[in-house]
Symmetry: D3
């Protein structure tokens, strides 16, 4: 899935943008609950840590729950964009309303909460679940495409929306086919987030470091999380 996501992103990247798709080396095999999300965050922050050392300009968190978004913004100098955030913003620019089509019903509340957090709740008409597990999206021979397409069609017909937001990074590669089949804008957050990150970098707009998103304070961490210790002086990443 990581490779697939990387390809989707590279396909729309500007000349000169290098896309590095990584999967953290700690955490859950897929993210389908608050529990999974919470435990995916250390791995994400570890990648940010490595990225900062390597001088990365910007980051995209390619999971529709945008896990660890604000923690990542604290740790990074440049922009960090979540794909739910990106997709919802784009949807609000091209129409008056969108619906989200995601994997499991149990994560719909997370999507609504993100919509509220980003100010996008007023554009979000419905969050729909396909009751598909994330990894089912990767299984060869899976019926996932047909099921997702059907749910998108319902969103289009019943919710009267201007666009559909795909609620899982693993659906990125289906975006174009669904859009063509249904004749409605279908938004994959991975590609939008890539373009937003690129745009902010070009405009010189970095994560604000004067307030809530300042670099973490220097302090020790214990146990298996010791490597996250932030031992540099505050403000000097």
């Amino acid at each position: 899935m990581t490779e697939k996501i990387g390809q989707c992103a590279r396909r729309v990247a500007a000349i000169g943008t290098e896309v590095i798709a990584v999967s953290p080396d700690m955490g859950p095999a897929s993210i389908e609950s608050h529990y999974d999300e919470a435990l995916s965050v250390p791995g994400i922050l570890d990648e940010i840590r490595k990225g900062e050392a390597a001088g990365i300009d910007a980051y995209v968190i390619a999971c529709f729950g945008d896990p660890g978004l604000y923690a990542a913004r604290e740790a990074a100098r440049g922009p960090v964009i979540g794909i739910a955030e990106a997709a919802m913003h784009a949807a609000s620019l091209i129409g008056g309303s969108f619906s989200v089509v995601t994997t499991l019903e149990r994560t719909c509340g997370i999507a609504w909460h993100l919509a509220e957090r980003y100010g996008m709740q007023r554009f979000c008409r419905k969050v729909r679940a396909c009751e598909l597990n994330v990894l089912e999206l990767e299984r060869p021979g899976s019926d996932a495409y047909r099921i997702i397409l059907a749910e998108c069609r319902q969103a289009m017909e019943q919710d009267r929306v201007d666009s559909i937001v795909l609620g899982c990074a693993g659906m990125s590669d289906l975006c174009k086919a669904i859009a063509e089949e249904l004749g409605i804008a279908v938004i994959d957050g991975v590609t939008v987030a890539l373009k937003l990150a690129e745009s902010l970098v070009q405009l010189g707009l970095k994560t604000g470091k004067r307030g809530d998103l300042a670099f973490p304070l220097a302090k020790p961490y214990t146990g298996p999380l010791e490597k996250f210790s932030w031992d540099r002086a505050p403000g000097l990443p």
Copy 2:
């Protein structure tokens, strides 16, 4: 001012993007009230009309009141982005809060209303006026830069924000200097809107035509507005 805005946009445009800066040939000399805004819209829609005939991919409305945004979206196939909309969205991606620094107190309510409309009110801490007329921004020898800089400094220090949004297209060229002077992200909507428009075009995301933003219905217009008559079949611009 039109030329200045065009230059700011071109400076950040991607390779292959052609920026055409136009000023409508009807309407007010500057936009500083609901009245001015309302009367600037026919001119904007006229440019959209010409643009559609010329096959333009996307539009930026370069006035911080985003006048005629939804009417323009109805008339256009591709994306139409307002600069207030663009700047506020960008601010919400790089920090938890922003303040707007605009020209006249009387337009602050308009900015707040836009923030609400776009879902950005929760990020907007204050809308501040410099009590500068728009055209004063263009007057050689004007004290505008100093006054705007002072207001931005107050926003930074008193409102505890992560970024400052410049509330007038005519301030675009001051953006970089203020950011450098103050050490805070300063956001000019013109450049952000250009990048958002470019991004949406590249992603193939066009204005939704199934609902509120469908093409206008065919009907005659009378008097000096006759040329706006929409005589093509609905759905076929």
Copy 3:
């Protein structure tokens, strides 16, 4: 339609109130989109301009989108009332909820936005469209009454509302018949707006001129809109 609206208003006007019903001499034949709305505004402002010269006490904008309401308030000394605004306010005084029955689905978003703008969203349970064109309301032999009545009945039965707001000035003359047929309060904004305008005039309450709704600033307008130039000193209409 203008004459019909005038008659409805006159029927409820107080002794001493003179109702002048006018249709602007520029703009669309009917208003059914953001585009139509935006282009109806110059004509409305032209009437305000003439009205101010003639010493008119108050204005009613008799289109359910309340086009140009704030611009008109800037240009006028006395009150300016929109019919959507008036109808929604009245509905909130006689019950806990209302539904709007309007013409085209594509304008429902406009009605919702007005409800939000006026603080009336909390009382508005649904905006329902009849999929009738505005001018169909005027066509002899049209089936409009039956279709509107059916939609109102659905609003009454399904939305459990205390009243129904008619979402088009062209429905004014149907108000009484529907109310009698259904036994529910049916609100026509034209008559309510007339009474609100009369009331404000009698109470000496004029549009506030100290803030957002102050008279427009003096400045030239170009092209076919030249006559809108506001060349008097600010504050002196």
Copy 4:
């Protein structure tokens, strides 16, 4: 105070409107808390009961807390208008914002809650207390006018509002003088409520009886409240 309120109302009543000002014969001497408000309601409902028997067309509750508004609407056939409700509605029609100037700080929360309930919170910038007891407004030689005027002036200058709402029926007679002194719209709810009630009556708009505001169910009441027993069949007042 009752007589004074009656006079203010009569001064703006239409020809043919008979204004009957009554003070309930049970309850507190003045209303300055939730406790007072709650205990003023039986007296108000008693007047409604008498009024319904007498065939009264509409009611105004002349206390800025609008005590018992919804209970009164249940008991009455015609409209019932609260003066806070009326004043706030009027303020929202003539400007973008208002402040309330009321008696005691402890009642400010009540005013805010009403503003929310009526959808008027978005227009209300501040609720200001003069720390005057209600009955002080009636005391000959009291300094009330000067104190209220000073607070209104502060509202005008600091809150940048378009109008001031007087937050006590006992201030009705000061309305004109303050408005003239300050040159800003000052709104007394008593007169506005009278005009709204008159307007609704003329338009044939009565309190909705199909839902939340249907007549109370028939049932016995015990103790000193026995006379409130509602023994008529529901729907037949």
Copy 5:
């Protein structure tokens, strides 16, 4: 019903907590409208008055409309908890959403308004009525249990909620049976309110007396409400 409510409360009371269940000696036989609610308040305040004289530590208002809650808080030193308030708070602690199952449709608006007032609207998915009169809950041989159970089942299945809030104190004794039958958390406000009141007492948290909920001001009351006169100095109950 009073005795039943008392028993439910006693069953969960801590050792040392004495529960005194009282029914006011004035007011309606049941509470099913704004009118009933308003007229139940004097009786409630009378009990608070007696309770304060007797040194009661805390109060629970055992009617789902939480009638007179703020007036009671003014009159009492210790905490006063409404059962709707308590139940909704508890529901928000154990899940993301709840639905209310109450008696009559006409009171649903009251429940929604309380949810808003307490900040619990965001957790409340639906307010459902059984169209049962309150006293029907007490009638031997009544079908009430079956009807309420059926509505709770619908709430569980259709609203996808984590818990169900029973919307009437008279349903307290059904709580356990419904929970066991359906396998979902069913919340009775009486028992939760009792525990909240006990907890606040133990923590020494009393009703704030510095602002909106300060003791009523000393003043006379007239007529049958004379005994409510508050003749003690403010702040000295």
Copy 6:
């Protein structure tokens, strides 16, 4: 600090309640940012995991950011209460408004977000920072008490609130002294959360497992987080 928190909780625990205060063996030394918060969650979930194995009835997360609250609720059968959540709920029961006094300015946004999430934003008037590091609260000879007391006094005097919520578990032991010094209710979330958890346990109200908070799905975790693998069948913890 863990021991201190445990003592505060034990002091108010009911007879029969056993309080076990633990500090996770992985994570940051203190929690003062999104980054710290995110990295404190694995340790918290590890304790929940151990607690579930040991048959713990309920959990309190004793950090004012309520880190990992929803993930913990998924992993636990019984209630899980955050101390910010608990304190804010209690404050809303005893008054109309509260202010939070917390440690660092940079965490104020987190507190506001929690207030919104819990529906408590409407009661929260201000979040105030003392600019004290969390560990400074523990340093012998620190000036922390004096600084916190001063900020609480400002909250009381300037914000006109009914209570003050202490915004850090490390302030628990100061609660009583500040309340006595200032004569206002001061709320420590640790003790309130303990009482809420106890109450829910006694009432048999457990975390809803039918929706968003169902047990995590079975799946492997990699790297240092391997022990979090959830290998039991869904629904069977």
